[in-house]
Symmetry: none
DNA sequence: GATGAATGAGGATTCATTCAT
DNA sequence: TATGAATGAATCCTCATTCAT
């Protein structure tokens, strides 16, 4: 009756809409960008929350107002990159592509992916996970399994009759080869870049050609 | 045989320096073994010198009597593993192998390598380097370039007329694929292991077959 | 009635300031209730202003609009509890009670007090002060000295001829025993509660009986 | 054979005797003393490990070489004080004391205890626990239950036929009264001290007299 | 050589409090 | 007013490295 502000808006019913101010959204974007930079510079393991905050030009406390810990930053960054990927290039692969010869499919899939990784190098860092062998940490799980699932889908489209286990194994191998090749491409001197891109496509084409051929 | 520098400094008596040396060698071996264990468990970045010392059953001070810092431990461990590799399987690849069909060559090269990696998982950890993208740290450089050089030699044996740059690129790609595949193999459940080994060989065979064929 | 200072500042219209005041009172009550809850859950020292604000469903900024710091919250909460005590049970002790035998007086004093503490557990928390020995922090001073004064008055009623210093000492001892006993009672399992209440009364009765008897 | 140092001493069998150097022992004593000081000054909750280290004149790292966290310091300090108590006054209470009249027993028990608390004020701080109501933290548990058990034993000596539950309750009440009285004594001005000591004894004597009398 | 002690900077995280909107 | 953002000092704790014995 005398607290009119609590009547306004239909949000009294829901539990505290936790409405975020525009400034906050900007800070989050800033922090994620800073995190991407730091992850790329020092790697995930060695990245410190302070360095991320410093890179973002804010105090440590501010970072913790938006993220509970380092892992959450990585997770959020991964999510954001995934979204950005879908928004930018995600539609590039239509069902029609699956009708193309393998060589063209690889172009259609890899070129945007490589392009995206050049524009967002943190993507690759997060895909790799930490340096503990055989251990994909939770942080990067989403990215990792999203990629894997996508590859499996494409493969299953080509090879609907292959046993699941085989497709899964092939998908893993393809993903692994891709990650490795991507590293090579990103690390290569500009003059060598195209050659490495071609080489990665060659590996994958030769690997997959017989599979697709038996279609 | 390969430690002539340790003969220098002829102390007074005969037996003493030998003894001391032997103890030192033992300590170093102890420490390197501990380092291998710790690197495999926690990864290189997260490994602490104290944990290595503890694992080796010595005090931190002792560790620093033999190694100036953490990186030196990794370097030395890499060297040792390389030596061990040469001592154990190094001779397996005779010039005669180069006459074999590719499939057999891959068996001859990869099987011992995979076997060795199962026995010395630290090998793989060191080959990978830290999680900084495009950055092979000094620690693992020796391992890395030794492997690369070896692959280049083999490739050059098969393709003596190919341009250097091409061979180098192919070698890098082969090495990268191998590292990725090895991870998959080591991480796979025992039941899946053989299948992943076969898959890795398949990738490499299909990749290299056309190159070798044009011989 | 007891907030005349809030009438000052006669703004333009009539209804506005009243409204604002009422809302403020509500917020303060909200915050104090939240503070009581948090103090009881985590103790005063570990209670954070943010947690109090969160518990009250407001932002930290809002809290600081009504209280300059954490201590002020405790002080205000103490005042409020004291007022509530007076309003609820304060009149229970009429001069007539002082004519009663000690046993009945103890019942008359302790039962409502214990009851009140069950209903307002923050009362006890504030009475105790922090865990710094020999140090009743300012926050809880009001509560503390109000209680002490009250006990002294009652004792003085019984023992008008006793030296001040003695009465003061006895009052302190009574208060201390009461606080300790209250803790025991509040911490006891329900089945044991009555027994602990009886025990506390026993201690005090036996302690005070000789004093009162010499009346 | 060439590591003679490992043959010396029969300690090769046991798992690393973790032999502590004299300096270390001294540091531990220093740190515990510093902790006692800080606990008494600021209370347990507000005491920080850095302040303890600073008080001891060492770096934070040094503290953590001997104690894994703040709680461990409190536990160790409690143990040490308990040992010191037993070593200094522990033998004061012989079975013969139980034959004494209550008044003398109280003198025999309380005087050394009070004396010890004057000499070791941290004892009281640890006995009290944190400021969370109804919550004796693990840190002080040992001290707390040791005291309680002792009181129960004495009471059981006097009242062998009383039900366990009653003795336990009485013991708790006695302990609580003692703790409260002790605080009063320690906080009192020197001139008042003796009077408060007498007062505490009076409370306890009057409380326990009837129990003992009914023997 | 070996040990355990010592260091101090750096890391993650919290929190009382202030500020801009 | 109310909000959420911002701060920065302080907390606990770790670690590579050095030192005294």
């Amino acid at each position: 009756m005398d607290m009119p502000e609590e009547k306004s808006g239909g949000d009294t019913v829901t539990a505290r809409p936790r409405r975020r101010q525009a400034r906050g959204e900007r800070r989050i974007a800033q922090l994620l960008e800073a995190a991407a930079t730091v992850f790329c510079t020092t790697g995930y393991t060695a990245a410190s929350t302070s360095s991320i905050a410093r890179e973002a030009g804010v105090s440590p406390g501010t970072l913790y107002q938006f993220f509970p810990n380092k892992e959450a930053i990585a997770v959020e960054l991964g999510d954001q990159l995934l979204k950005r990927w879908h928004a930018t290039y995600g539609e590039a692969l239509t069902p029609a592509h699956l009708e193309l010869p393998l060589e063209d499919l690889l172009d259609a899939v890899l070129d945007p992916l490589i392009q995206f990784n050049f524009e967002n190098p943190a993507f690759g860092v997060l895909m790799h996970g930490s340096d503990i062998p055989g251990h994909i940490s939770l942080e990067h799980d989403a990215l990792h399994s999203a990629a894997l699932t996508r590859i499996e889908e494409i493969l299953a489209g080509y090879l609907p009759d292959a046993p699941r286990a085989d497709t899964a194994r092939t998908a893993r191998m393809v993903f692994t080869v891709f990650k490795g090749g991507l590293d090579l491409i990103l690390a290569a001197e500009p003059a060598e870049r195209e050659a490495y891109i071609a080489e990665l496509k060659t590996v994958l084409r030769r690997y997959l050609d017989p599979l697709v051929g038996c279609l």
